[in-house]
């Protein structure tokens, strides 16, 4: 096998209890500690904690480890963390192997502790076999073009475009609509600070336009994508109204997805939605902006408004596609609109039917101000939501008010405002082109909500703003600037280090039958002389490491680094092994 006996360090993570509640990690450690090549075998409450990382670094240096296995979560989360740790400690980062015993073991088998423990031991064993056969590798560098595509020109996208341009990156922005600004462009005075949304959107557009390195495509969508991080080849479809459709081809190094959200659309009849006098939050916002001296709805003056909160948010009960999330912005937005309404239309009465008041952080003062400007608050239980009844020309809201001991209160209102939440915007075509994963809530999914909040599983594609989940405007911009930092850090370097797990040819075995060459989708295989015979050779930078050249080779001369026959077969052998009690 290998000439010199390898020294492998194995670390098994409790992940708080996420793993150890279902997998006996000590038992796993006992089962693998005697495996060939294992020099260190430890368990840790959190392998990703600073203390554990320091201990691993110390082990690498003091014990002279030349391979490491961490059995914890999905490689999507911490592969990079531990590779970086390896580099810092002087271990070749590609001799580190991540074993997933959380998503693919403890969580998937939380109903079978013994099965999960046996499986974890086998998975770790397979990881050790892989590490034993992993040579040191150097990354392959590809140039990255200093250009970014921003998809969606709402506040998140525009703000990102400006910032990227100022960092010296060339920016393309595609916006599906005929105008930029997203939802913010429609808004009047916004919370907090009271800036007018439409003015804010206009000033962002003006700023973007000032920059020569920003190109904006309106009525446009991303139609095709190929290539990879550093060098994506894209086709943008532009459909100017009344003009011929046009396809523009560009090359970018990274992409930001800032496609925003849709307002929840109440079902017909939900709180009498569809009847005159019942509107959504955004419809009310428009009435506020239009109202001149008097608040009017369909020609009639509104003197009493009833706000009903959590419409389309925090839905409870049974069912797959309920909107279980809190939409974050709406408590603050509704209170803010009530304050504006009270100031603009003296004498207007506002009644708020709410579940919990979530004017979190600094927005608490908006709630306070609403109270001071005459808003009255009535609290309902999630299982006893208010009823909206129509009585001739007027509407009545009936609720059991928890604040007055559950008394039934009935209230006449000229206008009922449903405080509608955020839902994912329908974006099937884009999702398909980018192959972006959606969460169960249908918003785009980041790799990790805390540690990698704007990255996706597609390298070089970042998400930001409300397309990720409910966010107010400020929060949307915070995430878009985070995505800017990630994208710029990648592109300004001018290169991306790609994984060195590429194919190679065992020249001694190869007899050039020519089968691998047409099997390679990237033209990465050439014929070269080797002694007095001809053999295949892999051109590193062209190889994407797909392994498509492996099956056609009749003599197993083509091999893929990190997935050699030796590695894969040794892993299969260990995984096939059954523990005593399983037989």
């Amino acid at each position: 096998m290998e000439e010199k006996k390898r020294k492998i360090g194995v670390y098994i993570c409790h992940c708080g209890g996420n793993i150890s509640d279902h997998v006996d990690v000590e038992e796993v450690r006992r089962r693998i500690e005697k495996e060939y090549g294992v020099t260190v075998a430890k368990t840790s409450m959190f392998t990703c904690s600073d203390a554990s990382q320091n201990e691993m670094m110390k082990d690498i240096q003091e014990q002279g480890l030349d391979g490491m296995v961490v059995a914890s979560c999905s490689p999507k989360l911490h592969l990079t963390t531990f590779r970086n740790l390896s580099t810092r400690a002087g271990l070749n980062p590609f001799q580190y192997v991540q074993v997933n015993i959380r998503e693919q073991c403890s969580w998937a088998h939380s109903d079978d502790h013994q099965g999960a423990t046996c499986k974890a031991a086998n998975l770790v064993g397979a990881g050790i076999e892989k590490a034993l056969r992993q040579e040191a590798l150097q990354p392959i560098r590809v140039t990255s073009v200093k250009r970014v595509l921003v998809i969606g020109a709402g506040i998140a996208g525009l703000r990102a475009a400006i910032e990227l341009a100022d960092l010296g990156v060339e920016v393309f922005v595609v916006e599906r609509e005929a105008r930029t600004g997203g939802w913010v462009a429609e808004l009047g005075e916004m919370f907090p600070a009271g800036k007018v949304g439409s003015e804010l959107a206009a000033s962002l557009l003006a700023e973007a336009r000032k920059r020569p390195n920003v190109t904006l495509f309106l009525n446009a969508e991303l139609a095709e994508k190929s290539g990879h991080i550093g060098e994506f080849e894209l086709a943008i479809r532009v459909r100017p109204p009344g003009l011929a459709e046009e396809t523009v081809r560009i090359q970018v190094g990274a992409m930001l997805v800032t496609t925003g959200f849709a307002e929840y659309e109440p079902k017909p009849g939900e709180y009498a939605f569809g009847q005159p006098g019942v509107v959504t939050l955004s419809q009310f916002e428009k009435l506020l902006q239009e109202g001149d001296g008097r608040l009017l709805h369909q020609g009639r003056e509104v003197r009493t408004v009833a706000f009903i909160y959590c419409v389309g948010s925090r839905q409870c009960g049974e069912g797959e596609d309920l909107n279980r999330w809190c939409s974050r912005f709406c408590c603050s937005a509704a209170c803010h609109q009530a304050v504006l309404a009270a100031k603009r239309f003296p004498g207007l009465r506002s009644y708020h039917f709410y579940r919990d008041m979530r004017t979190y952080g600094k927005f608490e003062t908006i709630y306070e101000e609403a109270g001071k400007t005459g808003s009255v608050f009535l609290r309902f239980h999630e299982e006893r939501p208010p009823r909206v009844e129509r009585d001739g020309d007027s509407l009545r809201v009936v609720v059991q008010d928890l604040l007055t001991g559950g008394d039934e209160v009935a209230l006449e209102a000229d206008l009922v405002v449903l405080v509608t939440g955020m839902t994912a915007r329908a974006n099937d075509a884009l999702t398909r082109v980018l192959k972006l994963p959606l969460g169960a809530d249908r918003f785009y999914n980041e790799i990790h909500p805390k540690l990698r909040p704007v990255e996706t599983v597609i390298d070089g594609v970042y998400i930001a703003g409300a397309c990720q989940g409910p966010k107010n405007a400020g929060e949307s911009v915070v995430s878009s600037l985070a995505a800017v930092a990630k994208a710029a850090a990648l592109l300004i370097k001018g290169y991306v280090d790609l994984q060195p797990f590429v194919a190679y040819v065992r020249a001694d075995v190869c007899t050039w039958c020519g089968k691998c060459q047409p099997a390679c989708p990237y033209g990465a295989i050439e014929k070269v002389a080797y002694g007095d015979k001809e053999v295949a050779r892999v051109i590193d930078v062209l190889c994407k490491g797909c392994g498509a050249c492996l099956p056609p080779c009749p003599v197993d001369a083509t091999q893929l680094k990190g997935y050699t026959d030796g590695q894969v077969e040794a892993m299969i052998d260990v995984l096939a092994r059954e523990a005593e009690h399983e037989r």
């Binding site: 998503e103 073991c105 088998h109 498509a548 026959d565 299969i572 092994r577 037989r583």
Partner: protein, 144 residues
């Protein structure tokens, strides 16, 4: 012998099916703990000899959670993976083993539910076939 739990080897792919399988775990969607996943860059890289080896060494079935049309590496990934499955099935037949022990289906990065269903259905199919008879044709090796 306790109840027969078919041992299944799954070849998944780093960027497409593996995230889908992760999602199943994240959502606590259970499937048998006798399902083991080895992740590769792309299902076009699975070698027939690996599949045969898995059965030889004691797996009752091999499932390729293929990239399908989501593959960002190989345009005709599905066709190639299907060819690998056919080649492996031919090798199994030479050893008097049932070709139905190899199965492929596309599993996308959010296909948690479909993965769970595939595992249930494949386990059931393998239970009906019974434990694999390992070793070269003719030598019917028992389990354990």
């Amino acid at each position: 012998m306790s109840e027969f739990k078919p041992r299944i080897l799954v070849f998944s792919t780093d960027n497409v099916s593996d995230p889908g399988i992760d999602l199943a775990g994240r959502n606590k969607m259970h499937y048998p703990a006798s399902v083991f996943v080895v992740s590769l860059p792309c299902s076009s890289g699975v070698k027939p000899r690996w599949i045969v080896r898995a059965i030889d060494r004691g797996f009752d079935g091999v499932f390729i959670a293929a990239d399908g049309s989501d593959c960002s590496l190989v345009p005709d990934c599905t066709r190639r993976t299907a060819a690998t499955v056919a080649a492996a099935q031919a090798l199994l037949k030479e050893r008097s083993l049932e070709p139905a022990r190899v199965k492929m289906a596309a599993v996308c990065s959010v296909c948690a539910e479909s993965f769970q269903k595939h595992m249930a259905a494949f386990s059931e199919a393998l239970r009906k076939l019974g434990p694999s008879q390992r070793g070269p044709a003719g030598s019917v090796a028992g389990r354990g």
